[in-house]
């Protein structure tokens, strides 16, 4: 079984492959010079690979490969807002890709900048706006349109599909908060109770938060984890309130970061990669000492995982740039803004670089390649 790591960078796509998770071959660049925001292999067939890309000049689009990157075809109708949109929105970037429910082969969701939501039913060839989101009467308020207060432009990310029910969706807005739909995106409600938004006049508003990454555990679908601008949170959906499990992180490290990744078989285990959220928000590792942290008790306690990492480094790990595989023990991987790709095949106990000197890494996604 071939493991693949799809590495989206500011200057193109690289693919690392391994049969044993010890020796990795790295192919690339593909799409050299293109801003490769996200690349995802469809876990439902292990073959369909979608990438979200643009260049500094050209508009956003999606390319698809069904031969692991040897050949590509562009979406016939890429994600875009409706022509004549009353808010005159035009998509600047496809920021996020999520394969749909296992019972809906060919369905994918895409999140954009501005914060549009788009859906395909033919594995990425033609995309349509999800009107229930894009045209929701509260959209402009939730999305803080047209201000777009996030430094690189507001983005819609973390599209999450409930494995029990394809009509049950979550998404994250940076900024705007977490939102939930129970009717395949027809209507949406904020889901931010308990979560702080310390940059707002009211620190606990209904919406306006800044989730950086939201994950749902597939074996316990009522459990959500969130790495937020204002801490690490867990929600039992039946409770409907976020609990700040980042309060249990070491005080000198804090609980700010971009990614959060979950153990595929243990709903109590999650990894984060903390960054410095003090002062002017350097967004590098606290004290320049990079480390992942793992919890094995749903956030009650956290353990530092930095064996093999440099003692000093000043990079950032972005929200899509950390991933896990389904091996035993689980492999954990991350990519840095300084172009390094790191791997652990012992659930974070030790780390080693498997690629260096790449461009700034935006995303790292694991996939298992079909035979």
């Amino acid at each position: 079984m071939t493991a693949m790591l799809l590495v989206g960078t500011r200057k193109g796509l690289w693919i690392a492959s391994s049969e044993d998770r010890r020796s990795w071959g790295v192919e690339g660049p593909m799409f050299l010079g293109h801003v490769m925001q996200h690349a995802v292999l469809d876990p439902r067939d292990g073959r369909t690979l979608l990438v979200a890309t643009r260049t500094g000049h050209l508009g956003p689009t999606v390319f698809r490969s069904d031969d692991f990157g040897r050949s590509w075809s562009e979406a016939t109708h890429p994600p875009q807002f409706a022509a004549g949109d009353p808010l005159e929105r035009s998509l600047r970037a496809v920021f996020w890709l999520t394969p749909g429910h296992a019972d809906e082969p060919g369905v994918w969701y895409a999140g954009g900048t501005p914060q549009g939501l788009f859906r395909t039913e033919d594995a990425g060839d033609t995309w349509a706006p999800v009107d229930g989101w894009n045209d929701h009467p509260m959209w402009a308020t939730w999305a803080e349109w047209p201000e777009e207060n996030t430094p690189d432009g507001s983005m819609l990310h973390s599209v999450v599909v409930d494995p029990r029910d394809p009509s049950h969706l979550y998404l994250g807005l940076s900024a705007g908060g977490v939102f939930e739909s129970t009717d395949t995106g027809g209507d949406w409600k904020p889901l931010n109770a308990g979560c702080l938004a310390l940059f707002q006049p009211d620190p606990e508003p209904e919406f306006g938060h800044d989730p950086h990454c939201v994950r749902l555990h597939p074996l316990r679908p009522d459990r959500l984890y969130q790495q937020n601008h204002c801490g690490i949170y867990r929600m039992e959906r039946t409770d409907g309130r976020w609990i700040r499990i980042g309060d249990n992180m070491p005080r000198d490290v804090g609980d700010i970061g971009f990614p959060i990744e979950l153990h595929p078989r243990d709903p109590d285990t999650a990894w984060v990669f903390p960054m410095d959220g003090t002062d002017v928000w350097p967004r590098t590792s606290p004290d320049g000492r990079p480390a992942a942290y793992v919890t094995r008790d749903a956030g009650e306690s956290w353990t530092r995982c930095d064996s093999g990492m440099p003692e000093q480094a000043w990079y950032t790990v972005k929200r899509q740039a950390m991933t896990v595989d389904d091996g035993d023990p689980v492999g954990v991987y991350f990519g840095t803004t300084s172009g390094e790709l790191w791997a652990s095949t012992d659930e974070g106990a030790s780390w080693r670089p498997i690629a260096e000197h790449l461009p700034e890494i935006f995303s790292v996604e694991h996939g298992t390649r079909a035979a």
Binding site: T55, G56, H57, L58, Q80
Partner: protein, 86 residues
């Protein structure tokens, strides 16, 4: 009419720097260009019909952002990308 294609868009034109396209307006020319080379238009014109910020279209040597402007067979359209990026 002849339309000059910049290098970032030549993946759509089989690497040809100059191609033919027809239309009574600049917008129609770009629609015809997309008919001949599917996907090329959306990379330079957004879904609201605006030429993208970092793209430039020259009509007979003059920068033109109005897609409704009339054109004729003798006119020359040059598509370029603005200097930007890094």
């Amino acid at each position: 009419m002849k339309v000059r294609i910049p290098t970032p868009l030549r993946s759509y034109t089989e690497q040809r720097a100059e191609v033919d396209a027809d239309g009574a307006t600049l917008g129609e020319v770009l629609v015809d260009l997309d008919r001949r080379y599917p996907g090329i238009r959306f990379r330079m014109v957004d879904e609201q019909g605006q030429i993208r910020k970092h793209m430039k279209v020259f009509l007979n040597g003059e920068s033109e952002r109005d897609l409704d402007v009339a054109v004729g067979d003798a006119d020359e359209v040059v598509i370029m990308q603005a200097l930007s990026g890094g």
